[in-house]
Amino acid sequence: MRWLRTRRRVLAPYVLGAAVLLLIPPLLGGIPGVAPGYVLYLVSLALIYAIVAIGLGILIGHTGQISLGHAGFFAIGAYTSALLTLRLGLPFVLALVVAASLSAAIGFLLGLPALRLSGPYLAVATLGFGLAIPQLVVWQGSWTGGSSGLHGLPPASLPLGALTIVFRTDQDYYYLAAAVLILLTIFARNVVTSHTGRAFIAIRDSETAARAMGVDLVRYKTTAFALSALYAGIAGGLYAHVLHGISPEDFTVLLSVDFLTMIVLGGLGSVGGALSGALLLTFLQNALTRLPVVHDFKNLYIVVLGAILILTIAFLPRGLAGVARSVRLRWAARPRDGASRVDQIVELGEGSGV
């Protein structure tokens, strides 16, 4: 459990986040005219996408290795977990572990060619990977369900000693997704602030310099790929069970671009940024479908997505996390009596970490 340990100083945001997540269902029940089940289902999807975004953020934001094919890993996780529970009757938790491990293993394998590829070459190779996975699923239709997909997944269950929790309602799945997200957020935070995380950042900033300092490129690049694929695989397994079914159409290139947009909007190189970008984009997508004036939702969403990508890179290159950081610095540097402004900035800079 070393990887899930947190210092008391940085614990506050997680406690706050967990409290908010815990309070959402009862609060929704209090709003008249809202179907809490459906809203919770949408929020669960947002939380699941946030898991992928955090993993992708480690790869792109921290290690500087681009992927335009993360929907592929998401699909691998979803299909593995769905097939194992549906066809072999494996328990949900075991299926999720296998799905995550398989996705991580394939991520490791994709990391191997990535050792020799940089920037645009890697973008093209991962794009091809993301396109190939749904195609392979359709090709192997006899056991993957082909283009009509897999449906009627058994409910997820979690054995806790003598007690077994069975997830049935949208609210149950919401709590499951929230719990996994919190654990994986803490884990990601700990990875990026560990020596592994520092090796990732060194590789991003200069491969040559990182190598000169003794960073093992083979080890850390493949680790970054495997880690982000692990996140996408876990999220995929949850996704399949929250939806009770999947089809190859759920895993298009547009989904990979969605994931990319989430972390660009949130801010590259920030776990909190990836999280907030994912939540914001999923809510935006749902808000756009509900606009009464919009007849052509698909076009509007695609255009908005493109505009977000371009405008963020042009005007907020560090994303929302960058905005939050500069607001925090301004606030800390506000004139106060006593200590000088410089001291206060230095003090804050030390605490902010990565």
Binding site: R116, L131, A132, I313
Partner: protein, 300 residues
């Protein structure tokens, strides 16, 4: 695939598949050529090449149907539009982007392709339209091999464009200036070449090449906003296989991929894209800078 027996293999129309593959490969080569042209001059690999081509083809379609212009006039006007459009993209979008990281241009051109995709869907809708054939008439026959007039036109256009561009880069002062920028930006600038103008020119020419491809593909693939999706992926594969820094490499990669695609499409149609992907990975693992590309050395 496993059920193919030796006598079925003999029955494969290899000659026909080769001709079809070369025609398809010419289209990949033209698209890849645009990508490489832009990459060489501006160091930006564009993920919007397919979408700018699609958008230009819709412009051509409007000129042909709504304005009833003759094909040659519409073709010329579309080329002009695409050239200006590409230059505009460079001026308005890419020049504002910091290129200190390789991620930024990738992200921005992906964003651009989304805007063009959604925009085209908005303006022209998603119904599939037939694009007027530029040439009509009976196909040419060589023994058992059939060559449609359109495929013949594709060969001619590809050859002519390649020759013109070869001459342009070899002999014209502007072409030499563009090569100089690709070779060494700093030195080119010191020689009085305007990098900004060359970047805009590279984008304009690359986008115009895309428009030509779009107008040649639309009669085969029909016209709709997603028409270039597959072609752009194959063109990427072609550009990467050939080497992103090599214009002849784009042609070699395009033709190679066209033949592979044509044979794969006959043997296992569901796996065409996966085979293209496998090809990219194999070539890149063996030769990370592509077949004809040069390994870029980085100064620390």
């Amino acid at each position: 695939m496993l059920s193919v027996t030796p006598d079925v293999l003999i029955d494969l129309p290899w000659g026909q598949l080769l001709v079809n593959g070369l025609a398809l490969g010419s289209l990949y080569a033209l698209t890849a050529f645009g990508i490489v042209l832009i990459y060489k001059t501006t160091q930006v690999i564009t993920f919007a090449q397919g979408e700018t081509a699609m958008f230009s083809t819709f412009v051509a379609f409007t000129l042909l149907t709504a304005f009833q212009l003759p094909f040659a006039v519409a073709f010329a006007l579309t080329l002009l539009f695409a050239g200006l459009f590409g230059a505009l993209i460079e001026r308005v979008v890419l020049r504002r982007i910091s290129t200190t990281t390789v991620l930024n241009p990738v992200i921005v051109t992906v964003g651009l392709s989304l805007i063009l995709l959604g925009g085209a869907g908005w303006i022209w809708g998603y119904e599939i339209r037939t694009f007027p054939d530029p040439v009509v008439g009976p196909p040419f026959r060589f023994g058992t091999i059939v060559l449609s007039q359109l495929n013949a036109l594709i060969f001619v256009v590809t050859l002519v464009l390649m020759t013109i561009l070869f001459a342009f880069f070899r002999f014209s002062p502007t072409g030499i200036a563009m090569r100089a920028v690709a070779e060494n930006r700093m030195a080119a600038q010191l020689m009085g070449i305007s990098i900004g103008r060359m970047n805009a020119l590279g984008w304009g020419m690359g986008t115009a090449m895309g428009a030509v491809t779009g107008m040649l593909i639309a009669p085969i693939n029909y016209l709709d906003p997603s028409m270039m999706g597959d072609v752009a992926l194959k063109a990427f594969a072609a550009a990467v296989v050939g080497g992103l820094t090599s214009l002849p490499g784009a042609v070699v990669g395009g033709l190679l991929l066209g033949i592979v695609d044509s044979v794969a499409g006959f043997e296992a149609p569901e796996l065409r894209n996966s085979i293209a992907f496998a090809l990219i990975v194999i070539v890149l693992v063996v030769r990370p800078a592509g077949l004809l590309g040069r390994r870029e050395t980085k100064k620390v």
